[in-house]
């Protein structure tokens, strides 16, 4: 029997769809012109890029000139945050950003960088315990000097859906009676496959996404920027993308992104239904059949592809490794699998204890997963958790007992 290979990490990346790959291939060695060149080689590239821009405009219900191609969502998010702040001018105050404590690191760190450079002040909002941001908490955080609100559409770790359209409507109302406009940005990277991304329905001024999360290639993405948005460029060079993003266009990547969006527009609803059914099977069986487990994030406001489960008395990296050996690819919020050795900031933001964050596994499904794969995964989760719990025994309880008696020092913390 060949070793099973079950991919449950679509939140990290997805395989490139065959149709997408085929669309891209001519743009490597045949139609290789620089899209900015004025000869016929360049025109081939330029035409392909503009066709992809049109596909993106259709998908997001935008104008083609509002679509800026980038190297991916990390760049898009950096451009949105830093670009707005660098253009913002507020009389007598620093521009203020409102974002959430459980954004992707590229948003958190871009906001953090603006704060550190003294260019902005930032409010990081905590989500509710179910991993959803309340519209009210955003509204209450608004100040006269607020210029940017950035809230992700779907959380990348726990898959929770944020009320973007409601926040957008609230900001629109707010903007009607203020001097300086508040721009609204959403990182829609994990949402594009499953949720309505019509920028007018959402009321967003900017929206980021990456091709590789939607069965497109890595290294390409886009930022939708509503017409009239005052934004500075953050990368200097040529006048590409209406002067908003310098750098030779990644023609094959952009072609792939266009195709992936076209396919997503066609198949999304059907795929979402199928994937949600598998996700429910996975969550229901795991929680019912494995003791001391719980779901992280709202069951109701949840991406169809995300199951994030914590296992008590289990450390996530150990579980990830046993699953890996059994041919199942997942990810974990454990510090031990990260370079920072810090537990997931997302799980801490929804109030999980450190050990609960360490004991979490994220399984993100895709359109090619099957029921058989899910059932095999549940069996392996069961076996692996049992094996790890045998090794951990009573040590966690013993630790807390010893701590009460004052016989353990927090010596281990010193190493960070």
């Amino acid at each position: 029997m060949t070793k099973k290979k079950i991919y449950l990490d679509h939140g990290a990346t997805t395989p490139v769809d065959k149709e997408v790959l085929e669309a891209m291939l001519p743009y490597f060695s045949e139609k290789y012109g620089n899209a900015a060149s004025h000869h016929f080689f360049g025109k081939d590239g330029c035409k392909a890029v503009e066709a992809a821009r049109n596909e993106a405009a259709i998908f997001f219900h935008a104008n083609p000139e509002e679509i800026i191609f980038t190297s991916g969502a990390t760049e898009s998010n950096n451009l949105a945050v830093k670009g707005i702040i660098k253009r913002a001018k507020i009389e007598g105050a620093k521009p203020h950003i409102i974002t959430t404590a459980f954004e992707h690191h590229c948003v958190l760190d871009a906001c953090g960088a603006m704060q550190k450079e003294g260019l902005a002040e930032v409010t990081f909002l905590n989500p509710e315990a179910d991993g959803v941001i309340s519209v009210k908490s955003v509204e209450e955080a608004i100040k006269p000097n607020t210029v940017l609100i950035s809230v992700m559409y779907v959380n990348n770790e726990i898959g929770t859906l944020q009320p973007i359209a409601a926040i957008g409507a609230m900001i629109k109302k707010e903007n009607a009676s203020r001097e300086n406009k508040i721009y609204f940005h959403t990182d829609a990277t994990q949402a594009v496959n499953y949720f309505n991304c019509d920028v007018d329905d959402l009321g967003v001024d900017m929206l980021s996404m990456s091709a590789h999360k939607i069965y497109g290639p890595k290294g390409v993405g886009l930022l939708y920027i509503r017409k009239g948005t005052l934004i500075a460029r953050i990368q200097d060079g040529g006048d590409h993308e209406g002067g908003k993003r310098a750098g030779t266009l990644n023609v094959p990547g952009i072609v792939g992104l266009g195709k992936a969006l076209e396919l997503a527009g066609k198949n999304n609803k059907k795929d979402a239904k199928k994937i949600a059914k598998l996700r429910d099977r996975l969550i229901d069986r795991a929680l019912a059949e494995i003791p001391d487990t719980f779901l992280n994030g709202s069951r109701e406001f949840r991406s169809p592809n995300n199951a994030n489960i914590s296992f008590r008395n289990v450390e996530g990296e150990s579980l990830l490794m046993l699953l890996d050996m059994a041919g199942i690819a997942v990810s974990t919020g454990s510090a031990c699998s990260s370079d920072s050795l810090a537990p997931s900031h997302v799980l801490l933001a929804i109030g999980r204890k450190a050990e609960e964050a360490h004991g979490s596994i994220r399984m993100t499904l895709g359109k090619n997963n099957t029921e058989e794969e899910i059932d095999y995964t549940v069996e392996k989760l069961k076996e692996s958790a049992e094996k790890i719990r045998k090794i951990s025994g009573q040590v966690l309880d013993d630790f807390y007992k010893a701590k009460e008696k004052g016989v353990v020092e927090e010596e281990h913390e010193r190493r960070h």
């Binding site: 090794i391 040590v395 190493r415």
Partner: protein
Amino acid sequence: MQYSKKLIDHFTNPRNQGRLDKPSATGIVGNPVCGDLMKIYLDVKDGVINDIKFETLGCASAIATSSMVTELAKGKTLDEAEKITRNDVANALEGLPPIKMHCSNLAADALRKAIAEYREKNK
């Protein structure tokens, strides 16, 4: 993360795993914030580690280093066992990824702590 075959072996088939009913001494170290907790159980006879067991909540390296430290310590005198260093544990596992070096630190610490408790009790 690249792990050696030896480490994978000790992670998937940990030696001396479990508890001792009447240990001569125990040592618990670690911190749930970091994600690694380890408890060592010692059975000491005539100054020699006659039996040793462990329970560990942690990553693959933490489990493997716990297993290895018990193998290195078993049968040794307390004076010998006390000298086991983090590098000894890492080397016996044919190396650890640099970021995981703290896990072997933890294992040797737990052993030393158990030995210290034994000495304190039997002064």
